[in-house]
C-alpha cells in the first residue's frame, strides 16, 4: 500500500473532527473520500499533508511513518495537495504560483516541460499566466491549484473539493482532467468530494465518512449502487 492511515484522530481544541479513521490507498488508484460537511474529510487530507497535526494514530507513506513530519518534508517525499478553498497566492502571478508548486525541484528544463503539460491540460491558464492569482476566477483558480500541485511531480496527489464553488460545466472538465492525470502520469489520487456522484464515477475505491469515522468503504462501483448511500448522498429515493 502506498498510503496507510491507521486510527487517525484530529482535534481542533475540544472539537474532535476525526475520531479514528483507518484507510489505505493503493498505488495507481483514484480513491475518494465522500461524506457530508464536517465528516472529517478535509481534516484527514490536512493531516496527511502535515498542515494540521494528528492528535492520534499513524500515517504511513511507502511504509514510512510521516505523522510527525513537517509539511515541507512531506512534499519532498512526493505528496502534494490542491487544498480546499484553493489557497492561491493572490499576490503572486499565476506563473509564480506554478513556480512555487515546483519549489523543491531544481530541474529547470523538466519544470518547463511540466508547465507546457499543464498549459495543454488547462489552456485557459496560459492566457492568464501573468495575472495575479487573486484576479483569476474561481474556476481558473481551481485549475491553477491543481496545476500547481502537479508541478511538484507528486506520486500521491491530494485533491480537496475540486468542484466547490465552480460552474457545473467546469466541474465535468476538471473531473476529466483528474482521470487524465491518473492515466497519463500514473499519479495516485486521493480525492475528497461532496459531489459524491462525480467522485464515485472516477474513483476505483471509496470511503464514506460520517462525523469523523469511516461508515462504509468498498469499490466505488459498489458504493454507488448501495441503497443507503444513494439515499443519503446521491439524492435518490
Amino acid at each position: 500500500m502506498m498510503l496507510e492511515i491507521d486510527n487517525l484522530q484530529v482535534s481542533y481544541g475540544a472539537v474532535r473532527a476525526v475520531k479514528g479513521i483507518t484507510l489505505a490507498v493503493d498505488q495507481g488508484q483514484i480513491v475518494t473520500l465522500i461524506g457530508a460537511n464536517g465528516a472529517g474529510k478535509s481534516s484527514t487530507l490536512r493531516a496527511i499533508s502535515g498542515i494540521t497535526k494528528a492528535s492520534g494514530g499513524h500515517i504511513r507513506f511507502d511504509g514510512r511513518d510521516i505523522t510527525a513530519l513537517p509539511a515541507h518534508a512531506i512534499v519532498a517525499l512526493g505528496i502534494s495537495q490542491a487544498p480546499e478553498g484553493r489557497m492561491i497566492f493572490a499576490n503572486l502571478t499565476a506563473r509564480e504560483n506554478l513556480a512555487m508548486g515546483a519549489y523543491l525541484r531544481r530541474d529547470a528544463a523538466e519544470i518547463d516541460k511540466d508547465i507546457d503539460y499543464v498549459f495543454a491540460m488547462f489552456p485557459k491558464l496560459k492566457e492568464r499566466i501573468d495575472q495575479p492569482g487573486g484576479k483569476l476566477s474561481g474556476g481558473e483558480q481551481q485549475m491553477l491549484a491543481i496545476a500547481r500541485a502537479l508541478l511538484a511531480r507528486p506520486r500521491l496527489l491530494l485533491l480537496d473539493e475540486p468542484s466547490l464553488g465552480i460552474a457545473p460545466i467546469l466541474v465535468r472538465t476538471i473531473f476529466e482532467k483528474i482521470v487524465e492525470i491518473n492515466r497519463e502520469l500514473g499519479t495516485t489520487i486521493l480525492l475528497v468530494e461532496q459531489n459524491a456522484r462525480m467522485a464515485l464515477s472516477v474513483a476505483q475505491y471509496a470511503y464514506v465518512l460520517e462525523t469523523g469515522t469511516v461508515r462504509l468503504h468498498g469499490p466505488a462501483a459498489e458504493i454507488a449502487v448501495n441503497d443507503d448511500i444513494r439515499r443519503a448522498y446521491l439524492g435518490e429515493h
Binding site: H72, F89, N91, L92, Y103
Partner: protein, 301 residues
Amino acid sequence: MSELLQQIINGVSMGSIYALIALGYTMVYGILRFINFAHGDVFMIGAFVGFFVAPLMVPLVGGSGLAAAVIIMLVSMAACALLGVTIEKLAYRPLRSRPKLTVLITAIGVSLFLEYGGQLVFGPDPKPFPALIPSTMIVNSSFLVLSSNSLVVIGTALGLMLLLRYIVFHTRMGTAMRAVSFDHRAASLMGINIDSVISFTFALGSALAAAAAILYGSIYPSINPLMGLFPGLKAFVAAVLGGIGNLYVAVIGGLIIGLLETLVTGYISPIYRDAISFAVLILILLFRPSGILGRHEAEKV
C-alpha cells in the same frame, strides 16, 4: 532657493538611511505580522561592528579608501544578519504560536537587552566613528555645498534597495518570501520551509540595518549603545506611514520622514527635529491606521 536644494539633498540622504531600516521592519511585519522593536538596536550593533572592524583595515588594505569601506560594510552586514537570525531563533521562534502581544513584549525585551548589554560591553560613552568615506566637496559654492558623503549615502542606499528588489521579485527565495507573507500554510504545502524563509527575512532586514548604520556613521560620526533608539523609531514611523508590509511605500515613507525632519530643522527649529516624526506617527495612527497609501487589511482568522 539654494538653501532649499541643500536641505532636500540632506533630507534625501537621511531619508534613504531611514528607508533602509524601514525595509527591515516592513519585511518582518509582512511575514510574521509583528513589529520587531529590537530592529533599531541591530542597527546600533552594526555601527559598533564597523567601529571595531575599521582599525583592522590598516594592515589589510592600508586604512581608509573604497576597499576598506566596502569590506567594513560587508562584515557589519554579515554580522548583523547572523545576529538577526539568532534573535529570531532564540527569542521569537519559541513564541510563534503565542498571541502577537507576547512576541511584541519579547521584542522590547530584546531591544533593552541589546541597549544595556551594549552599554556594559562597549561602555556608555560616545565613540568617534571612523571616516570611511573621504568627505571631499564636489560642489562648494555659495549656492550649494555638495559633499561626496551625501552622494555615497544616497548611491549606496539606492544600490542596496535595487538589490533587495531583485531578490524579492526575481529569485526563488524572494518569491517564497512573498508566498509565505500571503499564507504560511499554503506556502508549506508547496514544500517551502517556513522557518528558513523567516530566517532569511531576518538576515536580509538586519543586513540592511547594518548598511544603514555604516552610512549613518558617515553623517553623524559619533556612536553609542543607545543610538539605535531614535533612528529605529523614526524608521518604524516611516514603515507605518506608507502602510506597513509594502517595500515600496516603506522607502517612500523613509524619504518623507528624512525630508520632513531636515526641513523642520532648517526652517523652524532643530528642537522639533525628533518631535515631527512622532507627531506624524500620532496623526497617522489617529486618522489613517493602515497608512497613507495602505489599504485596510481584514484581520486574518
